[in-house]
Amino acid sequence: MRLLTHNMLSSNIKGVANGFPFRIDVEKVVEKKVDFNAGFLRNIFPKVEWKAFVDAARTMGYPELPEEADSSLLDSDEFLTKFHHGLLELHLEEGALICPETGRRFPVNKGIPNMLLHEDEV
């Protein structure tokens, strides 16, 4: 599971007012090279919740991203490279996503998050 995905997932447990972002419990992170595509990065930048992204990247062992970012940074190659790496190349292979309100764990196995709710959480 890449951080791009993490940035789009939110907890849907009944009664939870703010289920975003998930905290991450890291057991195994894998780095996988992905072709750099500046156009894609510029396109996706406005859709990324930046703070959640930076915090998640730090949890995954990558603290290099700036705390704040605005679109002017998209002209900087150095920024784009870091953005690319954090967003697309870090994979949570094993671990869990933790609901920020309830603490409920959603396991991540072989890179796939299991977001199924139990009957009483629906």
């Binding site: 789009m8 992905v34 595509n37 894609f40 996706i44 199924l116 629906v122």
Partner: protein
């Protein structure tokens, strides 16, 4: 919304297999016995408890059905798990199938009125009931969009991810997770295009299903539902005829489907959520050539051996194919498309 859809199909697990298949080593008989027991005990309790147990049993059944069948289906049909779109009355072979499946996607997009204009194309897509990701990968490539797929089947999610990586499709653009379409793990208004290609028939609660589709759609976004329905009821009718219900029950049993609804039911649900530009069409004529072709492919050496290798659930699914043909011929089963737009 009209009164509740007909109660959850009774699962008639009498295990009536054709004589020539009885030599099979009993695969997963234990889990089928558990399923039968769970359903039997469920019927002795209250209605609410019934509904919850049925829900759990159904989801598990769906996940297991696709965990088991995905491999052989992919083997025979490729990475799309939906019907192909044909010119009515044509005779087709399995080799035409892939092109027809692509055509189905394109026809659905065209019907929905989604813009080809690069500035207006969807940038984010959710594939609800994504199978092994065929639609997700296709839409991601077509629109250069980011696509999230959800499925109940861990095997499918795994396979979807592998295929994305193997196809060198910038696997950055597509991702798959195990999640429930009735409780999507996404915040509101996330997706420009909400895509449900032949997954609606698995949803036990159509109201909740449609609500979730609408919830995760972005303002101005498009919702496309392609699904199996039963015929619309006449104004004087309260429900389907007994023979019609019986036929649908048998099909439900084999494909892990909850109760069916009609195209008109979907339209009413979308209207109740104030969605706009609601359009519906009956594409039954365009998919009718599909089932005979599937049966022919199943009866080949490759088809038979693949089925025997996969398991009981897949075989039961295969045996239900003539029932689908009967349903279409008798104008009971409809292949429907329903699309709409979420207001800005």
């Amino acid at each position: 919304m009209t009164a509740a859809f007909s109660p959850t199909c009774q699962h008639l697990l009498t295990g009536r297999l054709k004589p020539q298949l009885q030599f099979l080593p009993p695969r997963a008989p234990a889990s089928m016995r558990r399923l039968t027991f769970a359903l039997a005990s469920a019927t002795t309790r209250g209605v609410e408890a019934d509904a919850k147990d049925d829900g759990v049993v159904l989801k598990k059944g769906i996940a297991e059905f696709y965990d088991e069948s995905s491999g052989v289906w992919e083997d025979i049909w490729g990475d799309h798990m939906h019907h192909g779109f044909y010119d009515p009355g044509s005779t087709v072979s399995v080799s035409d199938h892939r092109a027809a499946q692509i055509r189905m996607i394109e026809e659905a997009l065209r019907f929905s009125g989604i813009s080809e204009d690069p500035k207006k194309r969807p940038k984010s897509v959710v594939d609800v009931g994504c199978g092994i990701g065929g639609s997700s990968r296709y839409l991601a490539r077509k629109f250069g969009a980011k696509c999230q797929g959800i499925t109940l089947s861990p095997v499918q999610a795994q396979r979807a991810n592998s295929l994305a990586a193997a196809q060198g499709l910038a696997d950055k653009q597509v991702s798959f997770q195990v999640a429930d379409a009735l409780d999507q793990p996404f915040p509101d208004g996330q997706f420009d295009l909400v895509w449900s290609m032949e997954s609606g028939e698995h949803m036990p609660d159509k109201t909740k299903f449609v609500n979730e589709l609408a919830r995760v759609a972005a303002p101005g976004g498009t919702i496309i539902i392609v699904t199996w329905c039963h015929r619309d009821l006449a104004p004087s009718e309260e429900s389907l005829q007994p023979w019609e219900k019986e036929l649908l029950n048998k099909i439900c049993n084999s494909y892990y489907l909850p109760a069916w609804c009609s195209t008109a039911d979907y339209v009413k649900l979308l209207q109740s959520l104030s969605l706009q530009d609601i359009k519906a069409a009956d594409w039954s004529q365009n998919v009718a050539p599909f089932w005979p072709a599937v049966i022919r492919s199943a009866l080949t050496w490759k088809g038979l051996t693949s089925m025997l290798r996969s398991g009981l659930k897949t075989i039961k699914g295969a045996l239900a194919m003539p029932l689908m043909i009967e349903g279409y011929k008798k104008d009971l089963i409809k292949f429907a498309i329903i699309t709409c737009r979420k207001p800005e």
